[in-house]
């Protein structure tokens, strides 16, 4: 499970806001990124490519930190590794689960997951990918302190049980384990390369230890990283059209400028609002697609927010449409749950129907919503104390915090904003003393697996991010049942029940979903526009667009 937050430097944040104002391509001026709403198609993929490309330049939000995913993986690291490393399973562009190095995977019983390992894959150094190599990789991921070791929390044994078979034994049913094998916890490494490289592995200049459709051929620390098509890739379905992709990195406004001038052909943005400067552009298009990311207001047990009626009242009174426009230039969607539609990696129709039926988080509060909210406040005894909402000073945080204050005042509650330094903001998750200073803090939350159960487990009474003191024994039992349900339809039904309970108790207050956002020059196309770019070999489908 991965969830790394990248605080933007204040300087950078200031610069990008000012840049939007000065580059003259934003009609909204400098009022904190509020620009004209922009139309971006919402789909999992961009139109298919029609021809090959010699090379493309792609922008990242930051320099890759290390290509050893067992140490750490930032979004930039993953955007590259997705093309370079194969995994046991593979995330498809529509975020459903497909096959990777494992040609089949099956739960033999409640606690035995059996993988059939394909025998025709080769590493970039030409050596075959053996079943033993796969097992070695899984053990490396599961080792104490490894970044993805939490995915293996329920694993008690991993063994090669036939020439092309690996069996994982778990202590309890774990329906999400299979999903994890499509992420960084399922990467298949070349043990010989990693052992030879030692401490240098993962850094600039280290040899490739993977078998993906591209290999890293150059990493000029501080300036660029190049991946080149791997000629002997095993999967005929993945035939890369682009020979070479050069990655560069810069902060938001420089990324936008690079696309504007044609110096780069594309970028997956970490902040959707940064795409607003392309409204009406003739050379660059904006695409959006499903992701699990959602902005939420996380409540603490400090004061009034410990009462779920107050949480529900605030949720009813929050102007999500206003937030989507002011903070994200219309590139975010008012949302009723704390996890985006990208989590619906299976049984999508069932999840969507359940989502549509949810109430309690209107896009724009109507009179009925406000009346219901006021009734809840009255029922809770109209708390006197001022509600404190935190912000780290970034424009998105400020807009959401201000909207919360406005929502509180509209239903007769007092609220104020507490500004916490950017470098300290993440400590809300680890520092009880800091949580004691605020009732709520806005944050963007996402999960790395496309299964809402992977989020709703956070409502268990002993979950590490359940800070409001929400405790419901039935909920806890449902989470366990969900993990035991390896049948997708059954698990979806349980998860939908969990979602209903989470929303009923407003454990966190949902704000907006922020879809995956891609900006791409009009002369190239083909890549996924969903959050799949984190794990799937997206560059392999990049090519030229029809002229």
């Amino acid at each position: 499970m991965k969830n790394t937050h990248h605080p933007l430097g204040l300087a950078a944040a200031t610069v990008s806001v000012a840049a939007l104002a000065l580059t003259g391509c934003s009609s909204g001026g400098a009022d904190d990124g509020a620009a004209a709403a922009i139309e971006a198609p919402f789909a999992a993929e961009t139109p298919a490519a029609s021809g090959p490309l010699d090379r493309a330049t792609w922008m990242l939000g930051g320099e890759p930190t290390t290509l050893d995913a067992d140490i750490d993986a930032t979004t930039a690291d993953d955007t590259i590794l997705a093309n370079v490393c194969d995994r046991l399973m593979r995330v498809q562009p529509d975020l459903s689960l497909g096959q990777g190095i494992a040609s089949a995977a099956e739960w033999a019983d409640d606690t035995h997951l059996v993988f059939t390992i394909r025998q025709d894959a080769v590493f970039h150094d030409g050596s075959p990918v053996s079943t033993a190599d796969v097992l070695w990789s899984l053990q490396r991921h599961a080792a104490e302190g490894a970044a993805e070791s939490d995915e293996y929390a329920n694993v008690v044994a991993m063994e090669q049980t036939a020439a092309d078979e690996i069996t994982i034994t778990t202590s309890q049913p774990d329906a999400i384990l299979l999903q994890a094998m499509a992420g960084d916890g399922g990467i298949v490494w070349n043990p010989r390369v990693i052992e030879a490289e030692g401490d240098a592995f993962g850094g600039p200049g280290a040899a490739s230890a993977c078998s993906g459709p591209y290999e890293v051929t150059a990493w000029e620390a501080g300036s660029s990283l190049t991946i080149t098509k791997f000629a002997d890739y095993w999967d005929p379905e993945v035939d890369a059209l682009t020979d070479e992709v050069v990655f560069r990195w810069a902060e938001e406004s420089a990324i936008a400028n690079s696309l504007t001038t044609g110096e780069a052909q594309g970028a997956y943005l970490e902040n959707a609002g940064a795409a607003t400067s392309f409204a009406g552009s003739t050379d660059v298009s904006v695409f959006q697609g499903p992701s699990t990311n959602a902005w939420v207001l996380e409540a603490t047990d400090r004061g009034a927010l410990g009462d779920e009626r107050i949480r529900k009242a605030l949720s009813l009174a929050l102007d999500r449409e206003g937030i989507a426009t002011a903070a994200f230039g219309g590139l975010a969607k008012p949302w009723k749950t704390p996890v985006g539609s990208g989590a619906w990696g299976y049984e999508a129709e069932a999840f969507e129907a359940a989502y549509d039926a949810l109430e309690g988080a209107p896009a724009k509060p109507g009179e009925d919503d406000l009346a219901a909210a006021e009734a809840l406040v009255a029922e809770a005894g109209g708390p006197e104390e001022t509600i404190v909402v935190a912000s780290n000073g970034s424009s998105s945080h400020n807009v959401i915090a201000n909207a919360l204050v406005a929502a509180a005042k509209s239903i007769g509650l007092e609220a104020e904003i507490l500004v916490v330094p950017q470098v300290q903001y993440g400590d809300f998750y680890s520092d009880a003393e800091l949580r004691g200073q605020a009732d709520l803090w806005p944050d963007e939350y996402y999960i790395s697996k496309n299964d809402p159960l992977g989020f709703y487990k956070n409502g268990k009474s002993d979950a590490s991010v359940n800070f409001t003191g929400f405790a419901d024994p039935e909920y806890d039992e449902l989470v366990a049942a969900g993990y035991a349900a390896t049948d997708d339809a059954e698990r979806a039904e349980i998860t939908i029940e969990l979602q209903q309970r989470w929303v009923d108790h407003a454990v966190w207050i949902p704000v907006v979903a922020t879809p995956a956002t891609l900006i791409m020059a009009n002369d190239v196309t083909g890549v996924p526009s969903s959050a799949a770019y984190i794990y799937t070999p997206w560059a392999a489908s990049l090519g030229s667009a029809e002229r």
């Binding site: 499970m1 991965k2 969830n3 790394t4 937050h5 605080p7 933007l8 430097g9 300087a11 950078a12 200031t14 610069v15 000012a18 840049a19 000065l22 580059t23 003259g24 930051g62 320099e63 930190t65 290390t66 050893d68 140490i71 750490d72 302190g145 970044a147 939490d150 993962g202 850094g203 600039p204 000029e220 620390a221 501080g222 300036s223 660029s224 560069r248 990195w249 810069a250 902060e251 406004s253 420089a254 990324i255 400028n257 690079s258 504007t260 001038t261 110096e263 330094p421 950017q422 470098v423 300290q424 903001y425 993440g426 400590d427 998750y429 680890s430 520092d431 979950a463 590490s464 991010v465």
Partner: protein, 316 residues
């Protein structure tokens, strides 16, 4: 000789004190490095936090932590970056050249244009040109460098496409072109002080006895300015240019961010934001050392330029 040893000892002492102050400041800064080291909020369990603290010695008192760092630094090991998981020395080695090239380029522009404008203003003192130079450079000095940088990018890179919008180029001419806008941005805001010092220092010389004497011999004004006025003015001019260059090394942060340059300035911002102690420590010390080197060079250079100058003038 003894002077050199004294000077060296002073530098080393300065470095030790600076390294401790930086370390203590990072230690006292708000925010917990463990939050960044673990990353995923769902993994921030008390056990995991404790084990990561122990792994990075974050559970030890300030002095013990400082000793861990200092004993490594004495052997040339500045530790591993928390964020990049590479030796800090490797990170710096990749980024120092960009910053030095940028500062060097800016220094050349600054020296040529700044001194040139100062000379122009001094020769035309009291006339319209003088007022224009003084007023224009003062106005330029009042613009924050990142605002100027953004305006430059918008105009010369995005609208006119004369320069790339981001990055430091791949070396040679490409690098020179890529660093032009950032170097201009960095130098323009400092032009005022250099041209002002040049002008002031020359005006003092104009009224001095040796210049009056030279005038009396009927020398042409051009030669008087070159051989008598400028010659006597070099001391303060060089000193000021050097101090400005030294401060530029620490002042590239905003410019590097705007122009997407991976230099030590952007590395520093990034490291402070992620509590990457070893990197912050190394970058700031690099800046301190660079400052010392520049001022020392000036100390050595001034007596050569002007024998009347006492050699302990700059770094008193």
């Amino acid at each position: 000789m003894s002077h050199a040893i004294r000077k060296l000892a002073g530098m080393i002492l300065t470095l030790v004190i600076a390294s401790f102050i930086i370390f203590a400041a990072m230690f006292a800064a708000p925010g917990d490095p463990v939050t960044f080291l673990i990353g995923n909020p769902e993994n921030l369990t008390p056990e995991r936090i404790a084990s990561v603290r122990a792994q990075y010695h974050l559970d030890e008192p300030l002095l013990a932590q400082y000793w861990h760092w200092a004993s490594g630094a004495l052997t040339g090991d500045f530790g591993q970056s928390f964020q990049y998981h590479q030796p800090v020395s490797a990170l710096l080695a990749a980024r120092v050249p960009v910053t030095l090239a940028l500062v060097g380029y800016a220094a050349v522009i600054l020296a040529v244009v700044g001194i040139g404008l100062g000379v122009l203003a001094a020769v035309r003192r009291g006339r319209a040109t003088d007022t224009l130079v003084v007023g224009g450079t003062t106005l330029a000095a009042s613009i924050p460098s990142f605002v100027l940088g953004i305006a430059f990018v918008a105009l010369f890179a995005v609208q006119l496409r004369w320069f790339p919008v981001a990055g430091a180029g791949s070396g040679g001419v490409d690098r020179l072109v890529s660093l032009t806008l950032p170097a201009l941005t960095l130098s323009i805001t400092a032009l005022a002080i250099v041209s002002r010092v040049t002008r002031q220092s020359m005006i003092e010389q104009f009224t001095s006895e040796h210049v009056e004497a030279a005038r009396a011999t009927g020398l042409r004004e051009r030669f008087i300015v070159r051989d008598h006025v400028l010659r006597g003015s070099w001391g303060p001019i060089i000193t000021m240019v050097a101090l400005v260059i030294a401060s530029m090394i620490a002042g590239t942060v905003a410019v590097e961010t705007v122009f997407g340059l991976s230099g030590v300035g952007s590395l520093l911002v990034d490291a402070i934001n992620t509590h990457d102690f070893p990197v912050v420590q190394a970058v700031l010390l690099f800046m301190v050392v660079a400052y010392m080197v520049v001022t020392t060079i000036v100390d050595l250079l001034l007596p050569v330029l002007d024998p009347r100058i006492d050699r302990r003038k700059v770094t008193a």
